[in-house]
Symmetry: C2
Subunit: 243 residues, 2 copies
């Protein structure tokens, strides 16, 4: 048997059919109480002119680094949570060649206006209900990303990734309401968030002034050190059984 060194020397990477690996990012933020996703308009074939998730081919970097790079090409953002979603590899999902797309999910606070990237005619935050008819299989990827985001809010403190470093319980509630698409009872939500150990911690400060239409000044909180919420904040109003 040949040694490993000899084996590697005789190995010919070109002997295999060409495949490519891309990353695509489902980047979510909340603008004006609406859950929005970052979309680009494709400048080149295939799907020129169609809206798509930001993404591109992976270079000599790791997957996480590639996702971060693609995201920063479209929008300048500071704090961002990034996690792998899943990989899409159906033959024929890209007309050029066999392309595997590793999809990522990103949560960002606030509203940095996006900038046009290299391979995109334009980039924009689009309310998720209006984000349809995307290029490739990006409709499916977006739907999977939204599922993941909605479910992760239940048992992880990731809602804090959608707000600034200091936030009020009301702002946090608005995150849940926007992502889940339903209003939450303010009083019960308040008590529940504070009852979960490590979810939020008080800064001692309050907002400078009350709400725009009245109300007392709210206390400010930071994200705590919990990695999982216990007890979880379960989504209401789901059907039992099959769901």
């Amino acid at each position: 048997m040949a040694s490993e060194a000899e084996f590697l020397k005789g190995y010919d990477p070109g002997a295999y059919p060409a495949v490519a690996v891309t990353v695509d990012v489902v980047a979510l933020t909340i603008r004006d109480g609406e859950l929005c996703v970052l979309l680009v308009e494709r400048a080149e074939h295939p799907f020129a002119g169609r809206r798509a998730l930001p993404g591109g081919f992976v270079r000599g970097e790791g997957l996480d680094d590639a996702a971060l790079r693609e995201l920063q090409e479209e929008t300048a953002l500071g704090k961002v949570h990034l996690e792998q979603l899943r990989t899409y590899g159906d033959p024929g999902r890209d007309p050029r060649m066999r392309v595997f797309s590793v999809a990522y999910l990103a949560f960002a606070p606030g509203l940095p206006e996006p900038r046009a990237g290299s391979d995109a005619a334009g980039a924009a935050w689009v309310p998720v209900e209006q984000a349809t008819g995307l290029a490739f299989d990006h409709d499916t990827i977006l739907a999977d990303g939204l599922d993941r985001a909605r479910s992760k809010l239940e048992y992880t403190p990731l809602a804090t990734a959608f707000v600034g470093d200091e936030f009020t319980i009301g702002e946090l509630r608005q995150v849940y309401a926007s992502v889940w698409g339903e209003e939450l009872h303010a009083g019960n939500f308040h008590r529940k968030v504070l009852s979960v150990p490590g979810f939020v911690e008080s800064t001692g400060a309050t907002t400078a002034r009350g709400g725009e239409r009245g109300g007392p000044r709210a206390k400010l909180y930071r994200a705590g050190d919990a990695q999982l919420l216990h007890p979880a904040l379960l989504r209401p109003a789901r059907e039992d059984g099959v769901r």
Copy 2:
């Protein structure tokens, strides 16, 4: 601007650096009350002689199909649950070239003896605590798969994928105990499983005889139609806070 057809005609897939995509499968089953993973011994470089997760290069098929094919090359199994885990793509994780591995998680009931596959010197079910020192980054992949499996038992009915079509509540409890690595209170578990709508449904029959060391005949159940458990069967004894 060129039409999409002209663009595709002039497109040269070989202009990109060669990358490869593989699937690797974390296949779990329960043998003698122990959680076991399917491992092969690699016959070829790299990592010849080392144990590894079953897997191989993706051909012209979809990712799910590739995972199923690789699994069937190693062991003849009937009913099996298969789901994508995540993708590993660090540069340097394979010494031959840039290889992206799409990892899958499989749950299978019972104990089909594995058979040697094409690129493996042998295949065997190995208790997960003894599955260390694997080739590539398979230790990491296995650990991620176990995390996922342990967590999925909580809120999905996937425990039924580890048992036959008909099973007793005691067998189901043994699945949870094996995967979580801790004993569960028999009485409370029993009542809880039956209280979750759609988790199991009665067949009306009972086992032919009691346990080996005594006890009444147990009622037999099938998997129900629930996709999610509500309420969930939460794992006991986890630390609060950071966890």
